[in-house]
Amino acid sequence: MKAAAFDYVRASSVDEICRLLADAGDEERKIIAGGQTLVPLMAMRMARPDMLIDINDVTELAGIHDRGDYISFGAGTRQRALERSDIVSGRLPLLAKAVRNVGHIQTRNRGTIGGSIVHGDPSAEIPLAALALEAKMVLRDLSGETEVPIDGFFEAAMVTNIEPQQLLTEIRIPVWQGAHIGTGFHETASRQGDFAIVAVAAQVELGEDGTILRAVVSGGGAAPSPVKLHALEAALVGVSSDGVDALISLVDEAIDPDTDVHATAAYRQRVSRSLVSRAIADAIEEART
């Protein structure tokens, strides 16, 4: 349980990081921020990078800013900072609910929003909430900056669509502006803070007549990567709360659960349906008040 040897560089700027990544040649160079996903992978020798580029000193990579239409998160912003942020609790309540389920205090103190997203653990809560809310990610390399949508970023379990020379610098999460918005987040885990067996995030906007104007729903732990429930989202528009359960079978179109030591695929499917139902019910209830 000891990491293989590596070279260590403590970077002081985004440019320096991009240059180090661009000059990697045949070496595997990895970014380390909080290390809460990467270091266990290294301890188990599932990752053995030749070089770690430590980005913790690059202050411009951390911080939470309200940009009106969206909230900007520096990729190196600690999960604990999200948990404590008034911007997050006030403007992105779904993310606030999700963060409370991320790991334990010790891991949230180090773990970052960007690290959670680039690793793409299929049961992680932050990718799930960011996917539901249709976040955009800013990727940087020596040639400049690209903004990519989060839908499509998660390729497979622990595999995301980021090139070896790219650095995730910022996550932009849109803020909904309507008057009647509600959120729901539900998770099943062996104990509080453990990896989710299944987790679900939902956000809805209701019209004045109480029917759904807009809904987003995502599920984690029920497929090799977090999934957005597009068919269900589309079907929910125009529906009132008593029409939701009739649509729950649409959950099955998006998920692709697997059996492992924690749960069978059939159990994950049943739990996914239940948690989607509860998350949407919570969101509708919250939107009404």
């Binding site: 349980m1 000891k2 990491a3 293989a4 040897a5 590596f6 070279d7 260590y8 403590r10 380390i32 290390g35 809460q36 270091v39 266990p40 290294m42 301890a43 188990m44 770690l52 430590d54 913790n56 604990r80 790991g103 334990h104 205090i105 010790q106 891991t107 103190n109 180090r110 104990r191 509080q192 803070g193």
Partner: protein, 163 residues
């Protein structure tokens, strides 16, 4: 690979040490600085035995490389002692409440609990369970640990000196 010279601030003292980048903070504390109060259990961030404070916040020292800790203030279980070397009120309460059996998880439990009390002087039992939820005790002594933290919080609020 090459060694790196670093200076770590541990319990208020600067300690210079030469480490390979792959050495975790907990291994550095125990094997290089010979501060064996911090225990090392699973070595991959599950058990919480290696909890220390980094700039006053609890973290897992098996999930941080020692080279990353330079420039930060580290507090280990040894740093919880009173200045004369006697047990802290929290440690006393652990003793009184039988909040340890084998003692393996105890340093991590103490660090997690002290961090909680620094932030919240009047925690509920649920707050305490949340604060130690990342620390495994395989003697299953959680109830007594919760009681010990509650006892400490009560005594601190009452300002009663104890010992």
């Amino acid at each position: 690979m090459s060694q790196i010279e670093i200076t770590l601030n541990v319990n208020g003292q600067d300690r210079s040490v030469s480490v390979a980048p792959r050495m975790t903070l907990v291994d550095c504390l125990r094997d290089m600085l010979r501060m064996t109060g911090t225990h090392v259990g699973c070595e991959h961030g599950i058990c919480g035995a290696c909890s220390v404070m980094l700039d006053g916040e609890p973290i897992r020292s098996c999930l941080m490389f020692a080279v990353q800790a330079e420039g930060h203030e580290i507090t280990t279980v040894e740093g919880l002692l009173q200045e004369d070397g006697s047990l802290s009120d929290l440690q006393d309460s652990f003793w009184e409440c039988h909040a340890l059996q084998c003692g393996y998880c105890t340093p991590g439990m103490l660090v997690a609990s002290e961090s909680l009390l620094n932030e919240n002087p009047n925690p509920t039992a649920d707050d305490i369970r949340e604060a130690i939820s990342g620390n495994l005790c395989r003697c299953t002594g959680y109830q007594q640990i919760v009681e010990a933290v509650q006892m400490t919080a009560k005594r601190r609020r009452e300002g009663a000196s104890h010992g």
